[in-house]
Symmetry: C2
Subunit: 126 residues, 2 copies
């Protein structure tokens, strides 16, 4: 989902509540024609939604995929849900790409993040 | 996270709101001693929490891990958060296993699921 393997991997930061979260958990079918193009297009498109805060994704090979989208409020999420291109992709998902999925839309009440302190590098190592 | 590779993979079902969800997104360090034992123990332990509904997990190799736990209400989640063994594991996570993580605790307002209809098998195929 990133395309820049040299960039350090990190989760979307924890924002000050309240904000909205959409948890989309999927099992894919064998039929994945056009999936990756559509997925990449959706990833671009969602960034244009006013109030979109960020998205995390994890995919177990041959297993579950989980995508978590963060939005400023329910209105921002509604804009994304009802976007015409996104609606077409949703139909493609049911028609072809997903064996099963769940979507949970929720209002965040509490959040926090942890980031390990950087290890100092020896000047001679660089 | 399953140990039964023959079982069909499927997300935790969508429950009737309201219920609580905890989204835990992690990047792991190189130091993973005792991680898998602790992880397996936590997976067993959370099942004993009254009001625990289920858990989904996805792990991109070398990338993000996302674990989503579903609970009947905020009280059930508080019981899990304050469980003594879980607290010890949280300390281990900060000391050793995680480079970074975020936790988002939220109240689900809306959910739905999709499951593809089963394909009929030919009687001669079985």
């Amino acid at each position: 989902m990133n395309g820049r393997p040299e960039a350090p991997v990190a989760p979307v930061e924890a924002y000050e509540p309240p904000y909205s979260v959409a948890v989309f958990t999927t099992v894919r079918t064998q039929e994945q024609s056009d999936y990756s193009e559509t997925d990449a297009r959706m990833e671009d498109l969602v960034k244009d939604v006013p109030g979109f805060l960020g998205m995390d994704h994890a995919q177990t090979p041959g297993g579950l995929g989980i995508t978590v989208g963060y939005f400023r409020d329910a209105d921002a999420l509604t804009k994304w849900r009802t976007n015409a291109e996104h609606r077409a992709a949703q139909r493609g998902g049911q028609a072809e790409w997903y064996q099963s999925y769940t979507l949970h839309v929720a209002k965040v009440a509490r959040s926090h993040g942890f980031m390990r302190a950087q290890t100092l590098r020896s000047p001679t190592a660089g």
